[in-house]
Amino acid sequence: MSLSRRTFLQQASVISTLSLAGLPYAVRAENANEYWWSAGSDHSDGNGVAVFSDKGNSRLLETGFRGHGLCVSPDDGRIVMMARRPGMQGAELMADQNLTLFDVRPGRQFQGHACFSADGARLFTSEIVDSGDGRIGIRNAHDFSWLGEFSSYGTEPHEIKMMPDGVTLAIANGGLTPSADDGRTADKNALVQSSLVFIDSRDGRLIHKYSLPENKASIRHLDIAPDGTLVTALQVQRQWLDDTEPRALVAIRRPDEPLQLLEAPGNLWLALRDYMGSVVIHPDYGVAGVTSPRGNLVVFWELSQGKLLGYFPLHDVCGIALSQQHDCFVVTNSAGDMRFIDPVSLKELKPLRRHSDTVRWDNHLLGPLPVSV
């Protein structure tokens, strides 16, 4: 049982052993540790960037807001974490152990995700205006000054990522018009108009736009393989459906093909409880892992044929990434657990288990990024 609020004093002495000296993060060095990053919180509801080393140390770097998605710059390994929607801030983790915070522009709300341009010079952020119309904000990736914005060609863009060509931006337009009250709760009368959109990141030109036959399915998260295969994780707004039939929650878009739903037994979709939270593609094995925190499951599909491979249970699992050598899927949950899953057998490598008594992992996992210490 999670008893850390009673036992933290015993453990507090060991959680601050991690040094962040010697950044930048992405520079691999002799004796480097691997560090995993996520939005996180502690048991006193402090929010920030959670960092966890492969040696088992963890700590929370407070940002003052609950974070969501993280991305790493391709040139020098700087990490940016965006606030959970409706977000007002983003945070960059600096090499000198400082945080640089930047604010959303008036009349806009951050939507929890961002990505860098291929050269690391620009930062693209998913944003909305009050009506829910989507924007892709463009900032100088070094000082976060505002450079402009594009349309997302849809409502409520959520996760965005750069395609392997380094030019095309993939956008998951969630389609949920948020309420004016809290900026989150979707209006029950609002139609979901979710779409997967590809734009040219140089000029904002629309390249492709795809939607799904189920208009109550919200396309929210995505990952992209080096060959351009893209997998999206969906969330179905069951409260707007008048039936209890299962709905597919994962879709794939292979290069030059339309977006199509992956298949699984109906009872498996039902067990996932209409909610997939995060996705990662293992390019070496052509396998996608998709997490369902409500279903307490990670589900794996082979991508060339779209075949369901299996599933792995973990309570409240959401974060998923690949290990440094791509020898494991790595998943995290809100209890502070980290599990390593063999991508072939889909079995857990139990000796690698990690647990933080002090930090709760939030939705998304970034890493590992080696740090010389």
Binding site: M1, Q237, P293, N333
Partner: protein, 366 residues
Amino acid sequence: MMREKNYTLSTSVCAALVFTAFLGLSGCGGERQNDEPVLTDATLATALRQVTDNSIVPAVDTFAQASSSMSADIEAFCSDISADSLTQVQDGWRTLAQAWYRVSPYLFGPVNDDVVFPDYLYIDSLRQRGNNYLATVRTDISTMVEGAFELDGSYFSTKEFNKVGILALEVALFETRSGLPSNDDLLTEYRDEPRKCDVIRGLNNIVAGYSSNMQTEWTTDYQNTGTSYRDLFLAGDTEDGSEPLTLLLTRAQEHLDYLKQRSVSSVAATVSGETWVLMQATLEAVEAIVAGTGNSGVSFYQLMNSAGQSTAVTTVQENFARAYEAIRDKNTTDFNTACALLDGNFKRDIPDALAVQLGINFSDGD
């Protein structure tokens, strides 16, 4: 600058520590039998063990025994079709259904060991998102009675989950194939259609198989590990790595959510008219998790009180009282409201008072 988190004690833990200190000052000689237990890792583990041994395992045992008794009742009825033997087998079903509803807040471990087709669906198809397969079951019973194929174990072993379980048994035992509810008509039908006895034998054998397996796995050997699930559970060796108390509270909360979301009190056991008896049984099972039983030395209520959370205890008790009142009034709206309140209690108030983390509760759109 980056700020390190300064950890602070939560109110409940402070209260527990203050209370502990008070006991330390006033105890003068240690723990007495009537001392209020203090919230510690050890007392939480004790309370969990007592819920397991006094509520969960006995519920599983009772369900298995009820199913076994049903087998005997069915044999007695089919060998001597009479008003008395029909009443007996109907009472047997009532006992079986109540026993199941006392197990159903604990849908983890042996009863839920397959993601796609968990065992519990073959006992209670309503658990699949509240889908009511009454029409499917009625059609299938007629197909079996009218058919010429053999109604043996091989046939029943391939039945889909939505054609078996306590719902199928209920339909077969409480109404005729044309939907007549009188026992006189039922007796006539059973006398005229001997295959219907084969139907209830086969259906009960399925439930008996699952209930027996559930009992064995909880008490003796879970999935050929050589260890009972009871022992694995209490040792924290759960399927998805959940802490056992987290698992128990989460499943109870999901059960309350299921009762409310699927308006179970308006669709369950409508053929037999046992709906509210089953709601009473399942609420009592949920309440036993926090209130304990007569055999409990330490209950979660007591631990919540000791942590200074008596207001939370009172709130939960009031919501249970509200649910029981709705059951007495047979008021679905009020019952669903009470279940929603209890759902919130199991999601927030109880874990918070016990300093147990259930999870972040990820929201739509994240």
